[in-house]
Amino acid sequence: MKKMIALALAAMMVVSMFAGCGGSSTGTPATEAPAANAPAAAPAEGAAPAIKIGLSGPMTGGASEYGLAVRGGMEIAVAEINAKGGLQIEFKSEDDQADGSDLAVSSYNSLKDWGMQILAGAVTTGSALAIAAETVNDQIFMLTPSASAEDVANTGANVYQMCFTDPNQGASAAELMKAKWPDATIGVIYDSSDAYSAGIRDGFLAKAKELGLNVAVDNAAFTADNKADLSAQVTMCKDAGCDLVFLPFYYTEAAQVLTYANTVGYAPTFFGCDGMDGILNVEGFDTALAEGLVLMTPFDASATDEATVAFVEQFKANNGGKVPNQFAADGYDVIYALYNACVAAGVDGNTPAADVCAALQEQFATMKVDGLTGSGMTWDENGMISKAPAAMVVTNGVYVPVA
């Protein structure tokens, strides 16, 4: 009997938990949950309420490195904008653990309950795909800093990207190779369990075939489960006599490839994509190993222009001296692009999300944005960005544009 009472009590508790959460989340969203992680300046008396921008990304777990970088970049932009006066931004981030289904949607829903008007996310492709369909239903404007699959922007007219799409990046890599290393024997190592990496590889192989590049190894794959050991993949390229190795994946694994290649005395030209940016700032990494590495990145933390210097300084101050990578820079640009569009469209915290969405779509069709990751950036009707990919080569530990 006692057990039954306990069970009944537990069941009641669950029900009341539902009721409790449900009740609170339908309460007037504007008054609850002040942005916990953004220093939102108090708006002046009588001014319009701050516009609510939400970010969904991995803040815990294996991919949190990227989510936290984006969040760091966005927080700087929000603080700068709020300090200016005028239109204020209230910013909130939620954790989706880079999940591609239920956790992503619940992260998005929790932002929606908070009263989010614009989504500045998601960070990873899988989450972005799951969330994009929701934003289409809800008509919430979405600008993702880093989810780069073509399918993300194709989900709906309200979904925009700040980063290059994967096939495009693969194709530009092939073009650059054709221009600079037309006779190279090329090897491709990639992560077959990751949409970003597999997408670039598909785009690259298609273009390489068209251009007649000599791709000797195109199937040196690893997966998230066996990436602890990449020696076999490097050996495959070495054996095939590749003198140019394409590494379309993140710098975390790339550091491993470079280190192993160095120990076995294999020194081809390594070629990376935007995910490679950050390799020079991995703590403890010997930058000499990356000497001669070519990468296509929209962002260069060692650039000397005023905006980049200020951003890097601020990011370092906020994050214990950590140098920002392109994820952080994309996040920063996303907030500014959204802010410019909001100001131009004259929307604020009082505008319903669907109206914000319509107004921003109109703005993004015509506007030009200058940011850390490019100048004169525009978007096409599908929501994909057009900015010039900058090819860099690591020389003496810093990026130098490819001559």
Binding site: T235, V264, G265
Partner: protein
Amino acid sequence: MRILQYLINGISIGSVYAIIALGYTMVYGIAKMLNFAHGDVIMVGAYISFCVTSYLGLPAWAGVLAAVAVCTVLGVVIEGLAYKPLRGTPSLAVLITAIGVSYFLQNAAQLIWSSSPKNFSSIVTMKPISMAGGKLVITGEVLLTVAACILVMVGLTLFTGKTRTGKAMRAVSEDRDAAQLMGINVNRTISLTFAIGSALAAIAGVLLCSTVPTLQPTTGSMPGIRAFTAAVFGGIGSIPGAMLGGILLGIIETFSKAYLSTQFSDAIVFSVLIIILLVKPAGLLGRQMQEKV
């Protein structure tokens, strides 16, 4: 020459699996529990070693010693707080607690060291041995890891076979109640097992990160699962079995990548594992237990 290079690559990652598997099998054999937090203790060990060498600027051996010390204490504390109260309950209950501990360690590491990857510089300073005009390269890490594996394996075998404490451990492993009746302090023996297992984890962490330099809070989890697989493969509870299982798993993995398919190597490795377990249900060197009513 090519096949030899792949063989060496396989032994390289395999010996890392083996040294992790030794810790797994040791704890399993005596405490009869699957310690899913073992992989995360490895990660902690690697971080400690990294901090000592990079931040304090001390030599590599000091890093290893510090890692061993911290992990031993950590192992004993975890055992005392999370596993000891559950002694005598179904092994699944302890398994779930171990998973809780694993989540805890990963998230704590993220809060302490952030999720940004750190590049672990190898503790081996030896130049790689290059043969056949650079076609065959043997790195110092492989030699060190294999040597460490053999040393640990022989050491553990001697320890459990010859010393009084080791014999007590075996007695606890055979029959906990009977051991208690013979005057063996079961709780202390199990705590000691965890201390040794965690010290091994620290060494494994340093060797893992010397071979695979990227260090993140999730570094230990996948190699941990692979090593657990290796331990079962070799016959869980068997010390030479763990070593054999680890090295074979590494070789199978590398060969399937090199000669069959890189994309499907996970599927191939685990299929081979299933087939071998069907032929030898207790693993390669495991003992087939006679069941009694």
